[in-house]
């Protein structure tokens, strides 16, 4: 367990030192959400209907923005090569990296989401369910994004490639997450969709680290 904790604590310390970078995906999240009332109409009823989908799409895009740097600096300075050499399972190191990435990019987004919910006229009573759906969802997105980031880390055009690889895979998360938020907003019970999200998260945590590790090995071979 110690290599996991070592990566986690080092990542978090590094993130704290560069806390300015943390705000970029958050700004992006706010800006994308802002575009919808401006582009469509500020009518409260309309905003209330589209709020779950808009918040979720904005969160998805913000997550994608933050994922591009998941392994970049470690690839450039040779840390990833060290990861292959040290006698700890690569899967575990990858999982630690995903966890720290989610902690500094996903979690702030979840915390910020009720505020954006207010801007989008999302009902206050359903705020907790919406935040919960984003809590599960951003964690799954971090896992999926890590696969894409690891596969493209050595490539020059990784910026354009990453969304093409990750977005199709992220569609179930968007569907279940936005559905949970929409059902909660209508006063229905969103537990079905939330359970499905939680199941996806468990499945992701067990399977995706193997894919990330394989992807890191591929990237380091080239």
């Amino acid at each position: 367990m110690s290599p996991l904790l070592a990566v986690l604590s080092q990542d978090l310390r590094l993130a704290y030192r560069r806390r300015g970078e943390m705000t970029t995906p958050l700004m992006f999240f706010i800006l994308v959400t802002m575009l919808f009332p401006l582009g469509l109409s500020p009518q409260p009823e309309l905003l209330r209907t589209i709020a779950p989908g808009v918040l979720w799409v904005a969160a998805l895009l913000a997550a994608l923005i933050s994922q591009q740097s998941l392994f970049k600096s470690d690839f450039d300075d040779g840390t990833l090569e060290q990861w292959l050499l040290i006698p700890a399972p690569l899967e575990l190191l990858a999982l630690a990296r995903v966890a720290s990435h989610w902690f500094v990019s996903g979690l702030p987004l979840v915390v910020l989401s009720p505020l954006m919910g207010i801007l989008m006229n999302y009902p206050e009573a359903a705020m907790a369910e919406m935040a919960l759906s984003l809590l599960f969802g951003t964690a799954i997105l971090s896992l999926l994004g890590a696969v894409g980031a690891a596969l493209t880390v050595g490539l020059r055009q990784s910026g354009v490639l990453l969304p093409i690889l990750v977005l199709p895979l992220a569609i179930p998360v968007l569907i279940f997450g936005a559905q949970a938020a929409a059902q909660a907003a209508r006063g229905e019970d969103p537990s079905g969709a939330l359970y499905l999200l939680a199941a996806l998260l468990v499945l992701g945590i067990t399977l995706v680290p193997f894919a990330i590790a394989a992807a890191i090995r591929v990237s380091m071979e080239s």
Partner: protein
């Protein structure tokens, strides 16, 4: 495991053998495809009566269903070949996966186009966010992702392996995508069915449909084998054996 039972596997791992077998088999598949598709077209377009609900519009089924079926079968071929390539480090398996992906994308495209041409007379618009069409659209982008990633690498071996990892993640995700889309669709717009209310399909329709499905499958393998040949030859262009086949 007995040594001999794996001999066929190792023979297929040899590029000249695979090249030769693919070259021999491809024309046979092509002839079978021509015969089956000709029979299917005769049965489907000429000799079968129009559907009592959809008139002659339903005849798009004879290309839509085979294309949709092939688009999914091809993704499983890409995934299986990718797994074989990753597990046994078999370079030729990657060649098969890379050869199959554009073919699968083209049949996915065909399924989408024919689906929307069928949708126009049935639903009044070319595009409805029907579960099947939506799944096909996502599948198209899974193919695009695989092809784009594979080509982005300058080193072919890394590109093969990167694409293979993506294909395996995709194939695990594919059922989840499909069921999530079906679930989403059922929440938002009841059910839009391609077939009439009775799911029963008349024999006059079923026989040409099966002929077309088998015909398209044979055509697919004829094309796949040709593509595999080209892929193998390109990868092995510096090997001595290529002098004998050009």
């Amino acid at each position: 495991m007995d040594k001999h039972s794996w001999a066929w596997f190792h023979r297929f791992a040899s590029p000249p053998y695979l090249y030769k077998v693919a070259g021999l088999l491809s024309p046979w598949f092509m002839w079978a495809a021509i015969l089956l598709i000709a029979a299917g077209l005769y049965g489907g377009l000429w000799s079968s009566p129009p559907d009592y609900q959809q008139g002659d519009g339903f005849r798009i089924i004879y290309i839509h269903v085979p294309s949709a079926y092939l688009s999914m079968m091809c993704y499983s071929i890409v995934a299986i070949a990718s797994a074989v390539g990753l597990i046994w480090r078999l370079k030729l398996a990657h060649a098969v996966a890379v050869a199959a992906a554009p073919l699968g994308a083209s049949f996915t495209f065909l399924a989408l186009i024919t689906g929307s041409l069928w949708g126009k007379p049935m639903w009044g618009t070319f595009w409805v966010w029907d579960a099947r069409l939506t799944s096909e659209l996502i599948l198209l982008f899974l193919y695009f992702g695989f092809i784009a990633l594979n080509r982005a690498y300058e080193d072919r071996r890394s590109g093969d392996r990167a694409g293979a990892v993506l294909a395996l993640v995709g194939v695990v995700n594919l059922p989840i995508i499909h069921y999530s889309v079906v679930w989403w669709n059922s929440l938002h717009q009841g059910s839009t069915k391609f077939f009439g209310n009775d799911a029963e399909i008349a024999a006059s329709m079923l026989v040409p449909l099966l002929l077309m499905i088998f015909g398209f499958t044979c055509f697919f393998f004829a094309c796949l084998l040709k593509r595999v040949q080209a892929e193998v030859l390109e990868r092995e262009r510096n090997a001595a054996w290529t002098a004998e086949v050009v």
